[in-house]
């Protein structure tokens, strides 16, 4: 029975289309290398789990034990993936979205959501920790997609359309915030000195992808001496 479910999951995995999959070629063509470089790529199908719990409650402690601590303040990221640089999606990270609302991000795969015994997967473990008490654990993987904007000009591209103060003094590595980028709401996570992860909702992915590509165009031009 479990094997059948696994095989079905594999079939479904093969059929998935990421929200910005049709822009993959445009992203690689629009990416710029060099001193002024900036690259854009989609990291499809990351596992995202929405978690709600009141700080200080028993549920908070139990969920925190599964995740290695839930973030307690604005911008904080906790979990084993908090220190992940660009290009690595192996750890599990918890992003602060609100005083009682958090987003768990993990790599795609059966370990995160998969079937099998409860507690064997990340989602199962969180649901066990919730144990029906006030709070929430929901699979939101299809809600958002992930863009990775990296390179020396990544901040300059973002600053064109994000009103947040992105100076490294103010917006440090390992900070994740909910904000607006190019008029759409998105989560912005600075994973490295010159790399950002952007989580737009799936329906905005096409718009934001083309919007960022447009912002990257000027860095491909030959610099006028």
């Amino acid at each position: 029975m479990a094997q059948t479910a696994e095989r079905e999951n594999d079939v479904i995995r093969g059929l998935r289309r990421s929200p910005a999959g049709h822009l993959a070629d445009a992203f690689s063509q629009g990416s710029v290398s060099g001193e002024q470089g900036v690259t854009l790529r989609e990291v499809p199908f990351l596992t995202m789990i929405g978690v709600r719990a009141a700080p200080g409650s028993a549920v908070w402690d139990r969920l925190g034990a599964v995740m290695g601590g839930l973030p307690e303040r604005y911008g904080q990221v906790t979990g084993s993936g908090a220190g992940d640089g660009p290009g690595t999606e192996q750890g599990v990270s918890v992003l602060w979205l609100g005083p009682q609302e958090f987003l768990v991000i993990a790599a795609d795969g059966p370990n995160a959501l998969g079937g099998g015994a409860a507690g064997a997967s990340l989602l199962g473990g969180l649901l066990d920790a919730l144990a029906g008490d006030p709070g929430q654990v929901v699979d939101l993987s299809a809600n958002r997609t992930t863009f990775e904007l990296a390179g020396p000009s990544a901040r300059a591209v973002l600053e064109k359309s994000c009103a947040l103060d992105l100076h490294p003094r103010e917006f440090t590595v390992g900070t994740a915030v909910n904000t607006q980028i190019g008029l759409i709401p998105a989560v912005l996570w600075k994973v490295d000195e010159a790399a950002f992860r952007i989580f737009p909702r799936a329906s905005f992915a096409d718009f934001l992808g083309r919007w960022l590509l447009d912002g990257m165009r000027e860095y491909a031009a030959v610099e006028v001496p």
């Binding site: 979205l97 609100g98 005083p99 609302e101 915030v177 909910n178 607006q180």
Partner: protein, 106 residues
């Protein structure tokens, strides 16, 4: 563009927020006893203040939390940001009796 100071997230553009109308409109103590006129006044009639006005806002594209704000409707100056359920910072806290009376009037 105005900058609002969200109690959780700090200063953000006003476009990240949504307006929730006048603050401190108490729910009628005994809603069943109201006449249609009183009920409609509770639902739809709000102050149109010139000067300091207490209103509710939600940081919709940020922490998604509600808060109260005291804003000057003429100059748009933001006088105070305070939590939901708190009393207006420019007025002494209302006693329980006053709140009840106000609830019956509105």
């Amino acid at each position: 563009m105005l900058l609002f100071s969200c109690p959780n997230c700090g200063p953000r553009d006003e476009t990240e927020f949504h307006y929730g109308g006048q603050a401190h409109v108490p729910y009628p103590k005994d809603a069943d006893a109201l006449t249609d006129k009183e009920w409609s006044e509770f639902l739809f009639y709000r102050d149109n203040t010139r000067g300091d006005f207490a209103e509710r806002w939600v940081h919709s594209t940020g922490c998604r939390q509600w808060f109260n704000m005291l804003r000057d409707t003429v100059s748009y100056e933001i006088k105070a940001v305070y939590p939901m359920g708190g009393s207006r910072p420019d007025q002494p806290p209302a006693t329980a009796a006053q709140t009840q009376q106000k609830g019956q009037q509105s």
